[in-house]
Structures are given as structure tokens and as C-alpha cells.
């Protein structure tokens, strides 16, 4: 018997592909699969690509750092796990050429270096990309060092007890994890020469780094070992944890893409639900007839399930292909940002796509399909004997359950999925009631439309038609509302994301940092810079200090085991003092230093008497650092600064934007404490294109001041944002298409009823123009109500989304309340009107079914 079912299913599917509802169903499924696979493919590859890029920035997939050489045992373990290892040693030492001395930050690399990426080195033939470090006996200097001690390629420099040949000027290192912490100019040498320099001695300040490159599986395998190493005070940097700073914007983009994908799936689901309804209604006769010929209920369900499964499978394959193409386009949009070749698309997203198609089908079509099973054979004799449609509650319940599951799958967060689902369900109930009220109100208002104008009449008639099948109308209203809502949300969120990103990096974002400005140079520097730059941050004083105790205990004992390798404990921190909260910082806990009544400004800063009355100094700590070290308000930190110790108490926690290209500080003291210690100033400013001459002048006038140009990094971040924006727009198009598929499905579903109605109207003497207007009016009313509802929903949901997911501040979107209702009326009116064109062309006898089986 079963092959009968297959054959029947296959045959009717082939025939059915011509039917509008099956086409709508098919398109909706294809879109759902395309959207989800495209985004899954893309995110999957991007994720892996970013990891690799992060690995490049970091110098490896896993970087270990400590003060002593690494044991053979550890090396063996890592190698066995599948890692390739590379050794690196960092130290600061004086180097000299003739009479000129300069402290330099030495970086000794081995022959494996670098694991990823290339360095940009000028070896006498212009800047080349080099995938290695200097050979033994040679060294590469960065341009600043070259300038400071006036060396050129071919010169020899004294490093410790040996001499090295400068064979290249290194413009950019393959691994760029250094950041701003390192103010000394760079000299890169080979580890083979380290011994000869005599710099590696007991007690010298060396950082041994072990850079490991390997597959994610290897990283997974050594996780417990890493935790152990962290507890032992080893600085462990894991590529998956230590993302580059760009991560923030991209993470939001990922969230957004995931969200958009889900919106597309939801919309497609709605379209599937609507077209299934029509599909089932159309097949009730078939089912009854089959029943009459002796088919069992089981057989009926099998036949139609097989048919739909076939449909879903075809849709999944086509959708997945479209998804593959789509992700290629997405990647192409992002290519200049992702210069490395991305890993090829995995197979997982494909399964995900097929799974999504099936889930959407089961969730959104399942309960409706069961209606076929309940059809009575008697229907062949008495047409009115349709089985009751499944309760709306059941349909929505199953759909929400499945969609909730998909939410969970895609977002990876059960609580988020559950919250969205419960919220969604409550909202839907509310929405149903609200829609009923809205529709009733609207219909009443329309009936009161006075005047015998043709449009007035059209609206009255259209309204009455809508009122006649209010339940169906309500269903459509809900579907359209959800569609408008999803579309609006995707547009709104996109807009707000972009605005936020642009606000984050305005035109005048600082592109230069000036470091190491001595107190004596401060005023002169300020005078030189201020008139010629557009924006300039405050000049922050900077004192180097180390955390020597936490609540009276050694830091290593006081912090959570995982934080023992944290850089903040191993290195000196840059401390500053400020009387006012720096721009862009927000106090998230506690109180900023109590405001004194004296006027502020640097004058009062300088003249303030040390607040040493109580010897515990209040400080403000960045909340991320506090979180990592397990610190809270009231905890006491002891700093050792230049040989002295200062005991402090955390009085406030601040959040700040690390991507802001402004000087940021982990720890801020009040004025009057650190002034006595040796300090320098740091500032950031935006130098306009036409003022580049200032740099030459600053270098000449303030030779001790280091100037860092961050234009390149800034440009890269901007580029990423632009490209991500384009990717986001591409996804937006997909969501809009899914929205249109809902409209198509809905209009297809209600076509027979409308055909009947327009036929009747025509029989009663209405002209084409009248009928066309009545139809337009009905759709427009529906669209208007849906738009209103969608606006309400979108406003509500974006606010929630911003607060809990995307970290943006909610705001009211006024335009939304205008665009959605009127746009909705126009859109649905026009599309509905256009889709009804063929109905209007039909002879009334045909629409009324007088010509036999239609």
C-alpha cells in the first residue's frame, strides 16, 4: 500500500505545483531556508575567519606568557594535542649605536614566527610582506627607533654584549597585540642571538611567550590544562576569548543578522500557515473523495504529508543553494575587511536549512494539515460538511513551540528564547483582542463615511465585506501586523545600529595619540596643538603603578583562580587622576569623588593639597577589570608606585567605551595624591588632513613625545562598519521578500471568497470600476489596521530588544506610526488590487462556480 501513497503524493505534487497556494507555500519555504542557511553559512564562516584573524593579531591560537622559560613537559603536551609551537621573548633593554643610546623593546622570535599573517618590512627594496622574522645575527628596527638613534639598513647596533646587523625597517608586525602599552620603540631579533646578548639572566625582566597554532579541537582538548596554567599565574590568551577590539561592532552585526534571519523564518512561517490553510481547504474535496473510494485516515495523512515533505525537500535544496549563493555575496561584500581566505562553507548549515524547512512546515502547517484527516467521506454528497478548522490556539501553540525551538537553536540562549516566546504569546493574545477592537472600530468608522461619492461607497462596501468574514479578516490582520512588525523592526534596528556606529566614530574621532609629554612641556605642547586640531581630549596625567595587594592579601591569592594570569596584575598599570568624570565614562556603581566647591580646571588640580588626611584614597575602577578580578565597591587596593605604597578603596565603578579612540584608564585617582610621583601626560587629538605639517613640528619641538598615528586602525574599523552595513542591507532585502511572500500567501488564500463576492457584485450590476474600488478599499482598510498594529508591536519590541540584547538606548520612532499604517494601506491595497485583476476579468458565472467544477 505504501508505494500507492508515494505515487499518489508524487503525482498530485507535480500537478499541484501549478496551484497558487502551493506556489506560495513553496516560495515561503524556499525563503525560510535561504534566509536561515545564508545567515548560518555566513556566520559560520565569519566566525571561523574571525578566529583566524584573532589568531593573527594574537600571534597564535593560544598564547602563553610567563616570566620564565616554558617546561619541556608543557611543550610536549601541547604538541601532542596538535599544536605547532613558536617561542618568543620580550624584554626592554638599552641599545646603542656609537654615542646614541635608546631604551628599546626587544622582541626575539624564532624561525617558526609568525604563525599567521605577514610582517611589512623594508629590507632595502621598499616595503615587502615577509612571513618570517630576522635571521640570526640580524635585527629589524621600527622607524621610530631608526629615527631616534639614526640608523639605516646595513648599520650595526649594540644589543647587550653583542652586535647585530640592521637588515630591515619593520613597518608592521605580523602579530599586533602590543597595543599602546609599549612605548619603547621596537627591535626585532632572532632568538638564536639572545644568548649572546647576555640579557637573559636570573632576575632580568623577561617575558617568555609560547605561541601555539592549532585547530579548534586542539584548543578544546587543552582547556583544563589552560585553567591550571591560569591558576599558576601564567597569562593565557585564547583566540576565542581574546577577540580583537573590532569584535564589538561585529558582534552586534552578528546578533542583528541572526535576528533578521529569524524574522525571515517567522514571516515565512506565517506565509506557510496561511497557504497551508488554503491548500487544505482546496484538498478537502480530494480527501473526501479518497475517503469515499476507501482510503483510510492514516493513508490520507500519509499522502498529504508525503506531498508536503516532497515540497519541503525541494524547497530546502533550492533554498540552501540560494543560501550558498547569498553567503558568497555577503562575503564578497566583506572581502576587503576579511583579506584572509575564509574556511570553505561547512556542511552543518545545510542540515540546519533542511531542518528549518521541516520545522517550519511541521510547526506552521502541521495542525492545519490534520484537518484533512478529519474530513468526512459524506462531504462528497453534502459540500457544506467541512471539518472544523483546527482551533487557532492549537495552530498558534504548535507554531510558537516550534519557533521557540528555532529561536533557541539560533540564538543559543534558552532563556532568551523562552522569554521571547512567552512574551510573544502574551502579546499575541493581547494582539488578538486589540485587533478585534481595532477592526470593529475601523469598520464602524467606515460605515459612517457619509456622502455618495464613489470612494465613500467603495469604502462602505469594502468595509462591509471585511466585516462579513471578520474571523478570516482578523487572521489576515494579525498576519499582516506581524509581517509589518518584523519588517519595521529589521529596518529600525538597522537604522539605529548604523546611527550608533556612526556616532561611535564621528568624523573628528582622534587619529593621533601623544604619549610621554613631560609636565614641563605640557603647556607648550598644548599651545602648539590646540589651535590646529579639531578635537582634543583632556591631557591626562599618567603614573605607572602596580597592584601590590588586594584587601591586604597578595593579589594572586585574592583574585579568582582564572584571573591570576591577568595582565593587570602582571604589569604596571597606567594610573591617572581627575576631578571630573572623563567624557564617555559612566559611573555604574558607587559615587564619583565628592565634588568640591572650588572651581575646577587644571589650576585647582595642581594646587590641591593632598587628601592625605585619611590615608585611604578613594579610587574609581573600570567595571570590566573589577569584574575580572572579582572586585567590588569598598575593596581595598594597594598600589606600589615608584617605591611607595598607596592604599586605596574602590568608591565607584565606571563603564567606558574602549573603541572610542580616546585615552582610557582602568584606575582613576582623585587629584592630590599622585602629583608627587614622576608622571607624564597623554592626549589624543584629531589632526585634519591639511595640518599634517604639525607632526613634523611636534617631532622637532618635543623629541621626547611619542606620536602614534591610528588613522590606519580607524580606517579599518570604519571600513568594517561600512561593509557590515552592506551585509545587513542584503539580509534586509531577504526579510522584505519574506514579508511579501506572506502578503502573497494571504491574498492567495482569500482569493476564492473574494472571487465569489466580486461575482455577486457584478451580477447585481456593479461595474468593473466599482468592484475594483471596493476590493482596493477592503485591502486598504486591512492594510491600515495592520500597519497600526505593526507599528505598536515594533515600537514595543525594539525597545525591549535594545534594552536586553543589543545594548542600545530605546527611543520613540514617530515616523513609524505614520509610515506603517498609510504605507500598509497603500501596499496591501495595491498588491491586493493587482492580484484580484484576473478575478475582475472573470465572467460572473465563472466566479460563482456556475460553470461546474472550478
Amino acid at each position: 500500500m505504501s508505494d500507492i501513497n508515494w505515487r499518489l503524493a508524487a503525482r498530485s505534487l507535480k500537478r499541484d505545483l501549478r496551484a497558487a497556494d502551493v506556489r506560495a507555500l513553496f516560495i515561503a519555504l524556499v525563503l525560510a531556508v535561504a534566509a536561515s542557511t545564508m545567515i548560518a553559512f555566513f556566520l559560520d564562516r565569519l566566525e571561523r575567519g574571525l578566529e583566524r584573524q584573532a589568531g593573527q593579531m594574537l600571534g597564535g591560537d593560544l598564547v602563553l606568557e610567563q616570566r620564565e622559560p616554558f617546561s619541556e613537559e608543557l611543550r610536549t603536551t601541547l604538541e601532542q594535542a596538535g599544536f605547532t609551537l613558536s617561542d618568543q621573548v620580550d624584554l626592554v633593554s638599552m641599545i646603542s649605536r656609537g654615542e646614541r643610546f635608546q631604551p628599546a623593546s626587544l622582541k626575539a622570535v624564532d624561525d617558526v614566527y609568525p604563525h599567521y599573517g605577514v610582517s611589512h618590512v623594508d629590507r632595502g627594496n621598499g616595503v615587502e610582506q615577509v612571513a618570517s622574522g630576522p635571521p640570526p645575527g640580524e635585527a629589524w628596527a621600527d622607524p621610530r627607533l631608526a629615527q631616534l638613534i639614526e640608523i639605516a639598513i646595513g648599520d650595526r647596533v649594540q644589543v647587550g654584549q653583542t652586535e647585530l646587523l640592521i637588515s630591515g625597517i619593520i613597518e608592521r608586525e605580523a602579530d599586533q597585540s602590543a597595543g599602546f602599552g609599549n612605548f619603547n620603540p621596537r627591535l626585532m631579533l632572532n632568538t638564536a642571538d639572545l644568548e649572546a646578548t647576555g640579557l637573559v639572566q636570573l632576575g632580568s625582566r623577561l617575558e617568555f611567550e609560547l605561541l601555539a597554532a592549532g585547530p579548534p579541537a586542539a584548543l578544546e582538548q587543552v582547556q583544563s590544562l589552560l585553567a591550571e596554567l591560569r591558576r599558576d599565574g601564567v597569562d593565557v590568551r585564547d583566540v576565542r576569548v581574546d577577540r580583537p577590539q573590532l569584535g564589538n561592532a561585529l558582534q552586534r552585526a552578528e546578533s542583528y543578522l541572526g535576528l533578521a534571519g529569524l524574522a525571515a523564518v517567522l514571516l515565512a512561517g506565517v506565509a506557510v500557515a496561511m497557504s497551508t490553510r488554503r491548500y487544505v481547504e482546496r484538498h478537502l474535496d480530494t480527501a473526501a473523495l479518497l475517503r469515499c473510494f476507501g482510503a483510510s485516515q492514516y493513508q490520507l495523512v500519509t499522502i498529504f504529508t508525503l506531498q508536503l515533505l516532497g515540497l519541503a525537500l525541494m524547497a530546502a535544496v533550492i533554498g540552501a543553494l540560494l543560501g550558498l549563493i547569498g553567503q558568497a555575496v555577503l562575503l564578497w561584500l566583506l572581502t576587503s575587511f576579511l583579506p584572509m581566505t575564509l574556511p570553505p562553507p561547512g556542511i552543518m548549515p545545510l542540515w540546519l536549512g533542511i531542518f528549518t524547512a521541516l520545522a517550519v512546515l511541521v510547526g506552521f502547517a502541521g495542525p492545519t494539515l490534520l484537518r484533512i484527516k478529519r474530513v468526512s467521506a459524506l462531504k462528497v454528497l453534502r459540500r457544506e460538511l467541512d471539518p472544523l478548522p483546527p482551533s487557532a490556539l492549537l495552530v498558534m501553540g504548535v507554531a510558537s513551540l516550534v519557533f521557540g525551538g528555532l529561536l533557541w537553536l539560533y540564538s543559543g540562549s534558552f532563556s532568551l528564547a523562552l522569554a521571547l516566546l512567552i512574551g510573544g504569546a502574551a502579546l499575541l493574545g493581547l494582539l488578538w483582542m486589540a485587533s478585534t477592537l481595532l477592526l470593529n472600530g475601523l469598520l464602524k468608522a467606515v460605515q459612517r463615511l457619509s456622502g455618495g461619492s464613489e470612494w465613500g461607497q467603495a469604502f462602505r462596501l469594502g468595509g462591509r465585506q471585511l466585516a462579513r468574514r471578520k474571523q478570516a479578516g482578523l487572521g489576515q490582520l494579525l498576519a499582516f501586523s506581524v509581517t509589518f512588525f518584523a519588517m519595521a523592526m529589521i529596518v529600525l534596528v538597522r537604522g539605529d545600529l548604523l546611527t550608533t556606529w556612526q556616532d561611535q566614530l564621528p568624523e573628528n574621532t582622534p587619529n593621533y595619540f601623544a604619549i610621554n609629554i613631560q609636565p614641563s612641556e605640557r603647556d607648550a605642547f598644548e599651545d602648539a596643538v590646540a589651535p590646529r586640531v579639531e578635537t582634543q581630549s583632556t591631557l591626562y596625567p599618567m603614573v605607572r603603578g602596580r597592584i601590590s595587594a588586594i584587601n591586604g592579601q597578595p593579589p594572586m591569592d585574592a583574585v579568582p583562580p582564572d584571573a591570576r594570569g591577568d595582565n593587570s596584575l602582571r604589569r604596571e598599570l597606567n594610573l591617572t587622576w581627575q576631578s571630573a568624570l572623563p567624557e564617555g565614562n559612566q559611573v555604574v556603581a558607587g559615587q564619583w569623588f565628592s565634588q568640591s566647591s572650588e572651581p575646577k580646571g587644571w589650576l585647582s588640580e595642581v594646587e590641591a593639597t593632598p587628601q592625605a588626611a585619611s590615608n585611604v584614597v578613594p579610587i574609581s575602577v573600570e567595571d570590566g577589570l573589577a569584574g575580572r578580578l572579582g572586585l567590588g565597591l569598598g575593596d581595598e587596593l594597594t598600589f606600589s608606585v615608584g617605591g611607595d605604597t598607596i592604599t586605596t578603596r574602590i568608591e565607584s565603578l565606571r563603564s567606558l567605551n574602549w573603541d572610542s579612540f580616546n585615552p582610557n584608564f582602568f584606575v582613576i585617582f582623585p587629584p592630590g595624591v599622585l602629583e608627587a610621583f614622576g608622571h607624564s601626560f597623554i592626549t589624543a587629538f584629531h589632526l585634519p588632513e591639511e595640518e599634517q605639517g604639525l607632526i613634523r613640528q611636534l617631532v622637532d619641538d618635543f623629541p621626547g613625545v611619542s606620536l602614534l598615528n591610528v588613522d590606519a586602525i580607524l580606517g579599518q574599523v570604519r571600513e568594517v562598519l561600512t561593509q557590515v552595513t552592506r551585509a545587513v542591507e542584503l539580509v534586509l532585502i531577504l526579510v522584505l521578500m519574506a514579508g511579501v511572500s506572506v502578503l502573497y500567501a494571504a491574498l492567495t488564500a482569500s482569493r476564492p471568497v473574494r472571487a465569489h463576492e466580486s461575482g455577486l457584485l457584478r451580477v447585481f450590476g456593479a461595474g468593473s470600476r466599482m468592484i475594483s474600488r471596493v476590493q482596493g478599499a477592503e485591502y486598504a482598510l486591512l492594510g491600515f489596521a495592520s500597519g497600526l498594529m505593526g507599528a505598536f508591536l515594533a515600537e514595543f519590541a525594539t525597545a525591549a530588544l535594545y534594552l536586553y540584547w543589543l545594548d542600545l538606548t530605546p527611543r520613540l520612532h514617530v515616523g513609524l506610526w505614520l509610515v506603517l499604517p498609510f504605507g500598509g494601506a497603500l501596499l496591501i491595497g495595491i498588491i491586493g488590487h493587482a492580484l484580484s485583476y484576473s478575478l475582475r476579468r472573470q465572467a460572473p458565472a465563472a466566479s460563482l462556480g456556475l460553470l461546474g467544477e472550478a
Partner: protein, 261 residues
């Protein structure tokens, strides 16, 4: 177990009110109904459509059931074919009690053994003429006998139009397809519900001729619901449905088509 005569042209004793069939027969009746009742709820009151109705149909017999519209002809047909369940009473189809079976059991009993011809043809719009005829075959053990289906289409005069969709066929042609479909499984029993109701008199007459010819050739039992006296007269036996019961009836020779009684 009441049995019935299998003779074709001799009306058996009509079991109108009596529940017992007086004379013994060699064969089981194809269909035997006893004290069937059907009530439906219409709003608040219960409406009795059929009341203590009994009927026995012998194999090979053709029976016409006449009645005014609204008399419950379709309800009766639905009950007799096992498409619906009676409120009370017993119905045996092919010697098996339908009340003992569920929906699926009754469907399985019908498969391949019962054919239907409907007033509104009931062809599936997305299937070709041939596929429509194949449909009941595929639900029977004789699945895939395309040749059989094609042969039947030929017999109803549509051998050239096997690939046409219903909408490409005229009403009469559609009903021919339906008739081919009804006979394709070599059923023991064919139900026809107003088979000419949607057709003009000439076409209707052709359809009737076709129906009776095929019925005679195949030796099938035929139960025909109609209000067309001319049509009814061609059956072995005529019954009229009034007040929820069947009474023997002699259709007037004068009235042909459209008459209610």
C-alpha cells in the same frame, strides 16, 4: 440472517416496514438495512430524517430511490455507502455489519468494491481524465493498472482524451469520466447520486444509457438516487422516500425528467 434473491428483473419483496424477508434465497444480499434511523440536531430541536427504514438489495439488482428534495435522499445514500453512521439500526454491506467498524474499517470495506457517480461529478481538478479513473484503482490491490483505466475511458468514449484535465471537458464528458471511474475496479455495488442532475436532457439521456449498459455488462448492483421518473423506470425496482421511510413506487410513464414524484 435474511437473504435475498439474486434475480435481476423480479422485484424482491420490499422490506418496507417488515424486518423479515419472507422467502429464503440462496445468496446474501449485497446490502441490507434494518430499522435505520437518522436524527440530526438543527439548532435546538432534533430533526428526524430517516425513521425505522429497512431495505435489502440483492446482487445484480438495480434499485432507484426517488424523493422530493429535502426528503433525505442524500442522507440515505451516505448511510447506505457507509459514509455516515446511523443514529440507530443495523446496516450490513457485503455481509459485514458496519456498526462494528470504525471510519477506517468502513473505508477499507469500500475500497475497490463500491463505485460512485455524483451529481457534480467530483473529479479532481488537478488530475487528468486518466488519473482520475486510476485513483480508485490505486487505493485497491490492483494499483497501477493503467491499461484497465485507459480501457474504461475508451468504453465511455473518451479514449482520445485521456490527458485532458476536467476543466477541459464538457459536463457530459466529465460525467463519463466519473462513470469510468466508478466501474474501473469492477465493483460489486455502484451508487449513483442524481447522475444527470447537472446535465441537459440529451446529454443526461446518453449518460443514463451508458450507465445502464455498463451496469448490465458488468452485472453490478446499482443503487440510484434520482428524482427523474424516466430514469427510475429503467431500474428493476423503484422506491420512494417519504417521511423517513421507503415505500414501493411505480413511476408514472408520462413524466420524464424534472418531476419530483
Amino acid at each position: 440472517m435474511p437473504t435475498d434473491d439474486a434475480s435481476l428483473h423480479q422485484p424482491t419483496t420490499d422490506t418496507i416496514t417488515a424486518s423479515k424477508v419472507p422467502h429464503k434465497q440462496a445468496h446474501q444480499p449485497v446490502l441490507h438495512a434494518e430499522k435505520l434511523s437518522k436524527q440530526v440536531r438543527s439548532g435546538e430541536r432534533s430533526l428526524t430524517i430517516l425513521h425505522d427504514l429497512s431495505l435489502s438489495v440483492a446482487a445484480g439488482e438495480s434499485v432507484a430511490i426517488l424523493g422530493k428534495s429535502g426528503a433525505g435522499k442524500s442522507t440515505l445514500l451516505g448511510l447506505l455507502a457507509g459514509l455516515d453512521t446511523p443514529s440507530d439500526g443495523e446496516l450490513m454491506l457485503f455481509g459485514q455489519s458496519l456498526s462494528q467498524m470504525d471510519e477506517d474499517g468502513r473505508a477499507a470495506l469500500r475500497a475497490g468494491r463500491v463505485g460512485f457517480v455524483f451529481q457534480n461529478f467530483q473529479l479532481l481538478p488537478t488530475l487528468s481524465a486518466l488519473e482520475n479513473v486510476l485513483l480508485p484503482l490505486e487505493l485497491s490491490p490492483r494499483a497501477g493498472e493503467t491499461q484497465t483505466a485507459a480501457k474504461w475511458l475508451e468504453r465511455v468514449g473518451l479514449g482520445e482524451r485521456t490527458e485532458h484535465l476536467p476543466k477541459q471537458l464538457s459536463g457530459g464528458e466529465q460525467q463519463r469520466v466519473a462513470i469510468a471511474r466508478a466501474f474501473v475496479t469492477d465493483p460489486e455495488l455502484v451508487f449513483a447520486d442524481e447522475p444527470t442532475g447537472n446535465l441537459d436532457p440529451d446529454t443526461g439521456a446518453q449518460i443514463i444509457d451508458l450507465l445502464f449498459t455498463l451496469n448490465r455488462e458488468a452485472g453490478t448492483t446499482l443503487i440510484l438516487v434520482t428524482h427523474d421518473h424516466a430514469l427510475a423506470r429503467r431500474c428493476d425496482r423503484c422506491l420512494r422516500l417519504t417521511n423517513g421511510q421507503l415505500v414501493p413506487f411505480e413511476p408514472s410513464a408520462a413524466v420524464s425528467g424534472g418531476g419530483d414524484e
